[in-house]
Amino acid sequence: MSMSRKIRLSRRGVMAGTAAAVGALGLPAIGGAQAAAVKVGIIHPVTGFVAYNGQQGRLGATMAVEDVNKAGGIKAMGGARLEALLGDSQSKVEVGVSEVEKMNEAGVAAYIGCFQSPVGIAASQAAAKYNTPFLIDVGASDLLVTRGLKNVFRLKPGFGACVDQGIAALGALNEAAGKPAKTAAIVHESGEFGTGTAKLLAGKLPSVGIEAKELIAHDNPTRNFDNVALRIRSMAPDLVIMSNYQNEYVLLARTLHQQKVNLAGLFSVLGGGFNYKFVKELPDVAQYMMDTNHWFNPKSDKAQALKKRVEAGGALFTFEVYLAYSSVMLLADALERAGSADKAKLTAALESSTFNAELMPYGPTKFVNGQNQGGRAAIMQALKGDIEVIAPADVASAKAVFPKPKFG
């Protein structure tokens, strides 16, 4: 008797067998694939007239994405990696908006950008159509967070808060020095950032006993500040307060120094060119200049470690780097708590965020209408080719020199 077995292959059986085999062999792979990468749109002006700032922002953001992925991705999402989609706004509003649209097609979960306030305003408005969270890493205008858009979050303080902090510090300095400054001229770039900051400054300076004698607006780029220096000299204010982007900031400071305009102090709020490069390359020009700006917490080990990494790569540790880095970390934290890249859940997680911005001298994160209430700026002064923090007192590294010595 022959032993024969008929093997019957039914369709259902094949399906079940395949499923079992895949279950045994392929499930981990399928599980890995399920933790799909979370796409993050990172938009900066890496070309155009503020390209340097944009490139610095991109550097910080991509380093953070790399760090999140190296640390195992978003654990609550099965180790999902962050995938950075890099966009260039070309320093133009319309290009920033088209990057948002393009990245929306690619399925981004959130955006980070845009350095320039006008680009950030338009780009975040475009992202609002899709209810996609938009994290402003750098962008000074308070319009960014006062339009009632639920998708916009800004970790850093806006120019309103920076102006308040800067004015208070300037008032305290002036008071302590016996009030040598009674008048100021404000020189600002003519865009949303410079004009907005200048108006706020002019309105608030009287509260510390300083009168804003004149507001001088200039275009970007400006070829020559000789006449501005001439007007300042004829006006003879005690202070010049600047609010401009990098190139014009440096050119104006250089012109005022070259023309030996005597002032009690040169002060800026969110001065675009006040950084290590300026202070080290033009130490005589920068000496005693003061700026209210975003600054890392010098007492944070993580900030110091990141500074070393950035400098080892040949770049400068400017505010764009650590603000973009912190914004990506804020997003990663929200993704962990949301456990999903779903836009509504992610927005809710951001709204209730208590993220610890370890690199910055901030208090606990708390968003009110998209603006973090825990953010604060620092007041710095260029002293002997270096940047020292002169306020707030808990992070200060040097005592301010005010008024500055006159030209001989």
């Binding site: 003519s190 200039h218 000789d226 006449n227 190139n247």
Partner: protein
């Protein structure tokens, strides 16, 4: 009402600013005014020359004024090769092709500079940058006085070369009647390339004279291009005296406009003068109609 001393100082500041415009425009008046090449790469080539000055100073410690002959010679060679190798070859003698090629070159140069040097701006810190000459209420930086005098001298030299030398005659002949020049034995392509090279050499000089008081970034050349085109049209196409006069008029107008109307509205004066010149004297101040 402003103090007359301040207005006088404003005029002097305007003259010095105009000197810079003359420097940038003088090369353009040769390329655009004489050869009728609309050189969209003018600003980008200025930027490259400024980087050359910057790196000569940074890497080899060569002062921008000492670098003048090196950068002028290098810029001439670069301009000559650029014309012979690319612009002349690809344009097939058609003006609209030249326009597109120079526009393309500008985009390439800007982005290569961005890639190699990043968008960061670079400055040169020389001891004499802070040296000031006081004239009344005006505090005039020495580097700007030097660049002003150099601009006037350069215009004079180029004017004489164009009027008196064999090369000048050849350039004028080629500009007037290309075919005729070829028939009398002039190597038209060579003369075009030399003229283009001289125009770029002028940018090299401008870069050396600008850097002690200005910065360089991949977009810094563009700040001067529109002004340079305006200067050339205002002064008269191909006229070196016109370029000098045009640059100085624009400098003074911009300066006084800025003082009286504010920095932003001050620019309106330039446009108004430009429109008036086009209405009343379309050939420009020193231009000759054909």
């Amino acid at each position: 009402m402003l103090d007359p001393a301040i207005i006088f100082a404003g005029v002097l500041n305007g003259l010095l600013a105009g000197g810079i415009y003359v420097l940038v425009a003088v090369g353009l008046t040769l390329i655009y005014g004489v050869l009728h090449i609309i050189n969209f790469a003018h600003g980008s080539l200025l930027m490259l020359a400024m980087y050359a000055v910057f790196f000569l100073w940074r890497l080899l410690g060569i002062d921008p004024y000492v670098a003048l002959p090196i950068v002028i010679a290098g810029s001439f060679a670069f301009g000559y090769v650029l014309y012979r190798g690319l612009i002349g070859r690809l344009s097939h003698g058609r003006d609209e092709n030249i326009l597109l090629i120079t526009l393309g070159l500008a985009i390439v140069f800007d982005n290569v500079a961005l890639l190699l040097f990043t968008g960061d701006s670079q400055t040169i810190d020389v001891a004499y940058a802070g040296t000031i000459v006081q004239v009344g209420a005006a505090f005039l930086p020495l580097p700007k006085i030097i660049s002003f005098l150099a601009a006037i001298a350069l215009c004079g030299v180029l004017g004489v070369v164009m009027a008196r030398s064999q090369l000048g005659k050849a350039i004028r002949a080629v500009a007037r009647e290309r075919q005729g020049a070829r028939l009398v034995g002039i190597d038209v392509e060579h003369v075009f390339a030399i003229a283009y090279g001289i125009g770029i050499a002028c940018l090299g000089a401008a870069a050396c004279l600008l850097m002690p008081t200005f910065y360089v970034s991949p977009t810094s050349g563009h700040a001067f291009v529109l002004i340079a085109f305006t200067t050339v049209v205002l002064g008269g196409m191909g006229s070196f005296v016109g370029a000098a006069a045009g640059g100085l008029i624009i400098g003074i107008t911009e300066s006084l406009g800025g003082l009286l109307l504010g920095e932003q509205l001050g620019q309106i004066g330039i446009s108004l003068i430009f429109i008036l010149i086009l209405l009343l004297r379309p050939t420009g101040l020193f231009g000759v109609g054909r």
